[in-house]
């Protein structure tokens, strides 16, 4: 874990500017330590507005160049301020943070992504390929424009199997990523990694429930510290006996065993 003023190497809009997808590359020692599924806490301005850091997944690592890539979507004030930063500027990074995905050593790695949930899966795919593991991506998005702006080209560059669904059928099948999964026979044994909206991840967990697949899910929650000190970002977990406990998304996660997550927690 490092705290570092890191220099921006590249910062660009991906695809359709209206969708506000950004690609941001930093030169940082964090590259040396980063594990797929981990994230950074980024101070988007040196002043007090906004006050808190913003958690962004590490979406690419280049250990030779000491670079990490972040992909993010413009959402509110923090990402709007971030989008102003220019190559050459320095921003303060805290990371790498949290527990990432298990790197599969054999079999097939099925990646299931909803929307921008694909971002943190990218370095996992890369790593798995390096291990000689077969990788297959199921990705659901709004429409073709969305998928293309959200980095489809980065996935295509990996040369893996990609199956997509869109709500309007403009690319791949029409429907959700769940429909995609239902359309495929996942005969090969292996591991599943999922990231996307809570409801979508809950359904994916449900889908794999009676199978032998180990499903790992990457959660999101509003964060204060990012290091496990403030208990701001908890999720609810459940052991095999059904006993509830809290997990810290920032420190125990963001990646959890999907079957341990209580997806509809109300406490």
């Amino acid at each position: 874990m490092r705290l570092e003023d890191a220099k921006i190497v590249e910062h660009e809009i991906m695809g359709d500017p209206q969708l506000g997808m950004m690609r941001l590359v930093f030169k940082t020692e964090i590259a040396k330590e980063a594990h797929p599924g981990q994230f950074v806490q980024l101070k988007v301005s040196s002043g007090l507005d906004p006050l808190l850091r913003r958690p962004i997944s590490i979406a690419g690592v280049d250990t030779d160049k000491n670079e990490i890539t972040l992909l993010y979507r413009l959402k509110g004030k923090g990402t709007k301020v971030l989008a102003q930063a220019k190559p050459g500027d320095e921003l303060n990074l805290l990371g790498p943070l949290g527990q990432g995905f298990t790197i599969p050593q054999s079999g097939t790695l099925y990646l299931v992504a909803g929307g921008i949930g694909a971002f943190p899966l990218l370095p996992l795919a890369q790593k798995a390929l390096e291990q000689g593991v077969k990788v297959c991506l199921f990705w659901g998005g709004e429409n073709q424009r969305f998928l293309e702006s959200a980095g489809m080209h980065l996935w295509e560059d990996l040369g893996i199997t990609i199956e997509v669904s869109t709500m309007d059928g403009s690319m791949g099948i029409q429907g959700t990523v769940l429909d995609l999964l239902r359309n495929h026979e996942l005969t090969e044994s292996g591991q599943v990694a999922v990231c996307g909206p809570m409801m979508m991840m809950a359904s994916v967990n449900e889908f794999f429930k009676e199978t032998d697949f180990e499903v790992e899910a990457s959660l999101e929650e509003r964060m204060g510290c990012g290091v496990g000190a403030c208990l701001g970002c908890v999720c609810t977990l459940q052991d095999e006996q059904g006993k509830l406990r809290r997990g810290k998304v920032c420190k125990d996660g963001p990646v959890f065993k999907a079957k341990e997550v209580v997806w509809n927690a109300t406490v």
């Binding site: 006050l51 403030c230 208990l231 970002c233 999720c235």
Partner: protein, 308 residues
């Protein structure tokens, strides 16, 4: 450059320097250790504990506000027994003063915990968080009623040989009345401020952002209120004060010392800059150098001592 004596004595509590971290923002002292050397801290205030374990409130528990943070963690903690069994052994190894922070819903809750926490436990002090509702007395707050505050502090004081810090809530008409009450109760030290009660609303969902509706406001936004309270209280009671509320930089910390605090605590500031305690300490030392002050403790109350 002459060296500055950073040691501060808060009644029975001696700290190597006046920079502490605030309860609930620094876990049990390990989380930030890779970023901020523990041995440089004057002390660490641990996450608040209760007699029984608590799951705390549902999420969202945090909401950012202008220069501030709302939190409704709801006292999630492992409970007293688990704290003693699993956390205390590591806490007592921390190379700094560790201050326990206790919360309860009845006087017995507090005395039960105080009994279990003594000098021999390796702690440096107990901070009594009196901002919870007193469930045995119809939800009236210990932290807003002087008589209850005095009672709970006196009861804790009777049960432990550790220095007792009374942590005051700012959500009161008269902070001075509360401070005088806990002083009467025998508090060795006062710490203030806890969070201001606030809330924010998600205008698209048309409901509160926090699952718990209301939360505590902290961060730079509240600093003027905190400084005012330290100023008032330090002139009204004899016991020393740990000042907090919105400290991020050394300038902020010096403001609290000059207002009347003997030490400062950093909470939300850690989230913004995990090395804030370090730069605050260094900044205080340089400030002393520049102003020809040899002991940091001489800064306490200078802004009003100069005026009277």
């Amino acid at each position: 450059m002459k060296t500055i004596n950073t040691e501060v004595k808060l009644g029975p509590l001696a700290l190597r320097n006046p920079v502490i971290t605030a309860s609930g923002t620094y876990g049990f002292g390990e989380e930030y250790a890779p970023l901020c050397p523990v041995e440089r801290l004057g002390g660490i205030t641990l996450k608040g504990i209760t007699p029984e374990p608590r799951m705390g409130n549902p999420v969202p528990r945090l909401a950012e506000t202008p220069a501030g943070l709302l939190n409704s963690v709801g006292l999630e903690n492992p409970g007293l027994d688990e704290f003693i069994a699993s956390y205390l052994p590591k806490v007592r190894e921390l190379p700094t003063a560790a201050i326990a922070n206790i919360s309860g819903f009845s006087v017995e809750d507090y005395t039960h915990m105080a009994r279990a926490l003594q000098k021999e436990s390796g702690l440096a002090a107990i901070e009594v968080n009196i901002s919870c509702p007193n469930v045995k007395h119809g939800g009236m707050h210990f932290g807003t009623d002087p008589a209850s505050a005095e009672q709970v502090i006196a009861a804790v004081k009777a049960e432990t040989d550790l220095p007792v810090i009374a942590k005051l809530s700012p959500n009161v008409t008269s902070i001075v009345a509360m401070a005088q009450a806990v002083a009467r109760g025998g508090a060795d030290i006062i710490s203030l401020i806890n969070t201001l009660l606030g809330m924010s609303i998600d205008i698209e969902k048309q409901r509160p952002v926090l699952a718990n509706t209301m939360g505590g406001l902290s961060g730079p936004a509240v600093r003027p209120v905190a400084v005012r309270m330290v100023w008032e209280v330090s002139q009204a009671v004899e016991i020393p004060i740990i000042g907090m509320g919105g400290i991020l930089t050394w300038q902020d910390a010096v403001e609290f010392l000059l207002a009347g605090a003997s030490a400062v605590s950093i909470g939300t500031g850690n989230f913004v800059d995990p090395q804030a305690p370090l730069s605050v300490l260094e900044g205080i030392e340089e400030y002393c150098q520049r102003h020809g002050v040899s002991n940091v403790s001489e800064l306490t109350g200078l802004a009003w001592k100069g005026n009277i």
